[in-house]
């Protein structure tokens, strides 16, 4: 009886050990693959940077990308910005009212929008609308040998396809962020003043008093990095697209998911950096809301 129990215990331990090693193996592969991908993306970004500084992009490749990134993204960014501002007012109003702070709503909404929600929202919309499309277009070009055709005809695909997209994202995302900020503030004002009846003058005064130029700068500064992430990750995914319709679909999905995760990770890093800059240069001012 005892030997049967011992064998069962041994086999259970053996199974557990095998199971654990399988899990460790799987996680190890994921980590190694993640580090490899990150290294690959860094090299890809470096090559893009070298091409960007060594050869001027052609206006024929630049303008269509500026149009797709800037002009065509504007309506959707404005619309989502408005709704976010409204939702923010709706969610915050009741909580602030219980504390008797509803007159400060303008400051909270404006601060949240210009520092965080505006740039992250604009970047998310851009990653979804433009990033996925970039990965799908470049991926299709890869699987239909159009990228090989570019090379065969003496064009460098990084210079021809990636540099214009990168420049369009980096140069135009600040404008989209400003639009998201503005429409969010308008949406928040509308809900707070028109719907909830907060005093118009109080709302504007608090917004002006508590939100400073550095807060606006923070949002715009961060958006440039978000734009760079969207362009590099999406183009990288397109370039490394697997064959077939499924490969193109997977590239487009990965472009959005990876861009979004990297945007949020970069957001934390940049916030820490900017807080450090703020406390170094303006050590006494602190947060105006406190």
């Amino acid at each position: 009886m005892g030997s049967i129990r011992k064998t069962a215990r041994d086999s259970l331990a053996g199974r557990l050990s095998i199971g654990f090693s399988k899990v460790a193996n799987a996680w190890g592969s994921v980590v190694i693959q993640g580090i490899n991908t990150l290294g690959d993306i860094s090299l890809f970004a470096w090559r893009m940077f070298l091409w960007m500084v060594s050869a001027k992009p052609r206006s024929g490749t630049l303008m269509p990308n500026f149009y797709a990134v800037g002009v065509l993204s504007l309506p959707v960014v404005a619309l989502t910005g408005t709704f976010i501002g409204m939702v923010l007012a709706l969610q915050s109003y009741h909580q602030f009212k219980t504390m008797g702070l509803e007159s400060k709503l303008g400051a909270v909404i404006t601060m949240s929008l210009v520092r965080e929600l505006g740039p992250v929202l604009a970047a998310t919309m851009l990653a979804g609308r433009v990033g996925s499309a970039m990965a799908a277009v470049i991926g299709t070009m890869r699987v239909t040998e159009q990228i090989d055709a570019l090379v065969a005809m003496g064009a460098n695909p990084i210079h021809y396809l990636v540099v214009p997209r990168f420049l369009a994202c980096v140069l135009l995302i600040p404008a989209l962020t400003i639009m998201a900020d503005f429409m969010g503030i308008v949406g928040g004002y509308f809900f707070s003043v028109i719907v909830f009846g907060i005093d118009h003058a109080q709302y504007l005064k608090n917004s002006r008093d508590f939100v400073g130029g550095f807060d606006f700068f923070t949002g715009i500064f961060k958006s440039v990095f978000f734009g760079a992430i969207i362009a590099i990750v999406s183009c990288y995914r397109g370039f490394h697209c697997q064959a077939g319709a499924e490969g193109v679909g997977r590239a487009a999905t990965s472009a959005f998911v990876e861009s979004f995760v990297m945007i949020l990770a970069m957001d934390i890093v940049l916030n820490m950096f900017l807080d450090g800059v703020h406390s170094t240069f303006w050590p006494t001012s602190g947060s105006k809301l406190l």
Binding site: T144, Q146, D148, A149, V151
Partner: protein
């Protein structure tokens, strides 16, 4: 319109492109192993062989689209590996590449597609460039009204001809074709063959054509090279099973060459079936058993 059969040009002896011990590997998979070839200027070479034997890889490695894992490729005496990206780009002005599915840029009109190499190599767009584009289009038998169309509006044969016009626009010294007649009807296939012969005579271009189409290979080629998949070679065997005139194909001593030329499955079907049987257990009896049990229940 394009029906006259044009005689093949006599090859000159100076090699325009050479490979020396060229190998291409992807991880552990060996696609090309120690390929040594020399292609004289003006010759038209057909590279034949079954799917997956590395024909397209060889073609792409000849223009530096695919870097060699080992060995070298020399174009006009110049080792491609020793060139910088800029030098290689400049050298590619002397190549033309006709891709399997034409690889026309979807986002551009036919006009922009054909003009692309001119634009890349600094030829100013103007009356001269426009007349050049129209001339090339006429040479491949297409009307000028296709210039404003998009690639998606053209048939497969038309797209291939636009691809040929684009490859010819800079009058290259070496023209590479990747399965130019695949997926086309017999008439259109022959039109493409005739166009290849015409281009060769008109521009004295050296042509390398990857094809499965033996009719095409016999018609256009001065020389045929047959590759064989590395994984199925006998120990010590060369991957180049045949290298000679098309007329000698039938007399080849190698049974695999004769089978390929005649399009005979031979023992290949049994090989495929036995390899698939080894990797898969036949589930049919078990399936029948399950169905019978379900029905009985």
């Amino acid at each position: 319109m394009i029906t006259t059969v044009i005689s093949k040009s006599p090859p000159s002896e100076s090699a325009i492109i050479e490979t020396q011990g060229l190998s291409i590997r992807f991880g552990r998979q060996i696609v090309l192993h120690q390929i040594t070839l020399s292609i004289p200027r003006g010759q038209t070479v057909a590279i034949i062989g079954e799917s997956g034997c590395g024909k397209t890889m060889l073609l792409k490695s000849l223009v530096g689209l695919l870097p060699a894992t080992e060995g070298s490729v020399r174009f006009d005496g110049c080792d491609l590996k020793s060139l910088s990206e800029q030098e290689l780009t400049k050298l590619r002005r002397r190549f033309g590449f006709v891709f399997q599915n034409a690889a026309l840029f979807d986002s551009m009109s036919i006009q922009q597609n054909i003009a692309f190499p001119l634009d890349q190599h600094g030829v100013p767009s103007g009356a001269t460039a426009q007349s050049l584009i129209e001339q090339r289009l006429m040479e491949v038998g297409l009307p000028t009204n296709v210039l404003t169309k998009r690639p998606s509006q053209l048939s497969g044969g038309m797209r291939k001809r636009v691809g040929l016009a684009r490859a010819l626009i800079l009058q290259p010294e070496l023209l590479l074709y990747d399965e130019p007649t695949t997926g086309l009807d017999p008439i259109m296939s022959d039109v493409i063959n005739e166009l290849i012969l015409r281009s060769q005579r008109r521009y004295s271009v050296t042509s390398i054509v990857v094809t499965h189409d033996m009719h095409s290979a016999r018609k256009i080629a001065d020389r045929v090279i047959m590759l064989y998949p590395y994984s199925r070679l006998l120990p010590g065997e060369s991957q180049v099973l045949f290298d000679g005139a098309p007329e000698q194909l039938e007399e080849s001593k190698d049974r695999r060459v004769r089978q390929f030329v005649r399009g005979e499955a031979g023992e290949r079907l049994m090989e495929l079936l036995s390899s698939s049987n080894m990797s898969h257990v036949d589930e049919t009896p078990r399936l029948h058993e399950t169905i019978a049990r379900r029905e009985a229940e």
